[in-house]
Amino acid sequence: MIENLSEALTLFLSFENFAVIFLGVLIGTLIGAIPGMTTPMGVALALPFTFTLHPVTGVLLLLGIYKGGLYGGSISAILLKAPGTPAASCTVIDGFPMAQKGEAKRALDMALYASCIADLISNLALIMLTGFLASFALSFGPPEFFTLILFSLTIIAGVSGDSLPRGLISACMGLFLATVGLDTIYGTERLIFGNYELMSGFNFIPVLIGLFALPEIIDHFARKGGGDIAVGSLGRVGASLADLRKCMKTIIRGSVIGVILGAIPGIGGAPSAFLSYSEARRNSKNPDAFGKGEIEGVAAAEAGNNGVAGATMIPLLALGVPGDVTTAVILGAFMIHGLQPGPVMFVQNLPMIYAIFIGIMLSSGFLFLIGKVMIRSVSRISDIPNRILYPIVLILCIFGSYAVNNALLDILIMIAMGALGFLMLKMSIPAAPFLIGFILGPLLEDSFRQSLRLSEGGYSIFFGSVICWVFWGLAALSIFLLIRGRLVIRDSDVQAQAEAK
């Protein structure tokens, strides 16, 4: 233990790591503050810049962007009524009315305090639970992994938007694309049609960039310049200590909700934020003030939203399955560096995991620093016109896609994926399930086929152990919680609409 910690400190203590975490949180906050830019998009665009970095440094950069992005979404939600992320849409309910009353600075301060506290609690949960879960997962065989990945595919229901069949079609397209390449058992060709550059399958980054960044850019040009909004004044008075004391119980409750829901693959920040908000309102002495600029509403939404940040990393690091879309991208980053998160990583690369933990804890501090010191300048980023921003992002996409393998084919794949992503956007087919399917597909197929080889073709192997049954049960529970989360969001929307009238 001490030896591992000492190795972790050696790995972590470098100027480079401190700098990338700071830079990551700053970039993430900026990206989150820009309406139209999403956290997964930001993480995807930063991915090619991590190739030359040490794996720990690269992953910390992406984690910084993830955490900064979660908080940054609240800036545009409060100032522009344009949430940068779905989870930040809950912050709009009370944050924007506060901004209209000239209390934007107070709302932003509270969003920051709630985000940092929730992030810290979530990080502590990550550190305490991941090792335990990973040691348990060491006893897993292929059937257990198959049921685990099947359980984690319930994430698709969480990111499918309003229509599950559309999410299912999207996920299946991702799963199908992941089958391209050489067959892992027989070594025969699958859907490569003589193109030997595709023998190892489609590269993750061009697919990711094409699906997440390009459609937004194309859509901007389709709408021709729509969406440039002027940012209002921040106001002068920030949140007081009394405000923080008043909201502390709500923040802790929201953080715990975030940790629990974040640790279950697929639930994500939005249901957590809305559940935290509805609990805060239910427990408030003044529930009627919610929706009209109540600071406790901002605290509840942001605590629920940011409470998931560390927790989504629990299934990723312990089991190798992503907790949400952004952690799916981070899983890809691990793979690019030749690492497979999961129980085996705890055995082979424990100091690396401890170094990541140290960096994650530090990111909460940097988030507070950036939020406190740079909020005025950061909030001005929303002023950059999209007509300038999107061409810049497009050029980043092209260089990023090429840099993965130094292959022009990857640029073509990115363009093709962009066209597909744009069509999906126009047909209201969510892109996130595609990505989840694409990443988890090979793991699912491999564990399925390995299990069948062990059982000589018998399907009873998938019901042969307690762990398998636990995952079947968890999948059912996860679907139940997803449905409940959707109902909470729908009720909150109906309530907000009724109050607006």
Binding site: F49, F51, T52, S163, P165, R166, L168, I169, C172, L175, F176, T179, D183, I185, Y186, T188, E189, R190, L191, F193, I217, I218, H220, F221, A222, R223, K224, G225, P385, N386, R387, I388, Y390, P391, I392, L394, I395, L396, I398, F399, Y402, A403, N406, L408, I411, L412, I415, G418, A419, F422, M427, S428, I429, E445, F448, R449, L452, R453, E456, G457
Partner: protein
């Protein structure tokens, strides 16, 4: 017909047609199946076939949903007019044509020059008319990215016609 239901119907039928194409054409043509597979489930085409069957099932669900909700009241605004939709289509196609043209020109002109031209074109298409912004952004960004990837990350960025010139100054 309710537009949402119509969309479900179109997408569902599209998914069914796509599934049929994959199942009866692409998979038999593109997946080599060895003769000595231990069980059917281990064959290289087993998993893709299962996925396609799920696509077909989801497509069928969408068709059924669209059919059931075809007369349901719909509150959303009507679709944009034909001229607006044509304008949108022209802009979208222009961007893709510019992207594809850049892709095919990279071996000749190099990635940096293609990116400069593409960036300037998109800034102009987006409505930016300040020439110093258009030139500043479109020249500076690709050059900085070239310097980062070529010089720092060790990624050889294709330079096309300028190969000798840029290699001397940039790497």
């Amino acid at each position: 017909m309710n537009p949402a239901a119509r969309n479900d119907l179109i997408l569902g039928l599209g998914a069914l047609a796509g599934a049929a194409f994959l199942l009866f054409y692409l998979i038999p043509m593109g997946i080599v199946r060895p003769g000595n597979t231990e069980t059917r489930a281990l064959a290289p085409d087993f998993w893709p076939i299962i996925i396609v069957e799920v696509i077909a099932l989801a497509g069928f669900c969408l068709v059924a949903l669209g059919w059931l909700h075809r007369h349901k009241a719909h509150l959303e605004a009507e679709d944009a007019g034909l001229s607006t939709r044509t304008g949108v289509a022209i802009r979208v196609v222009s961007v893709f044509v510019a992207l594809l043209a850049s892709y095919f020109l990279i071996p000749v002109l190099g990635l940096v020059l293609c990116a400069i031209v593409l960036c300037a074109l998109l800034l102009w298409l987006g409505g930016e008319r300040r020439i110093h912004i258009v030139l500043g952004v479109s020249v500076l960004l690709p050059v900085l990215l070239y310097l980062f990837f070529n010089g720092f990350a060790g990624v050889p960025i294709p330079t096309g016609l300028f190969e000798g010139m840029l290699d001397g100054s940039g790497s």
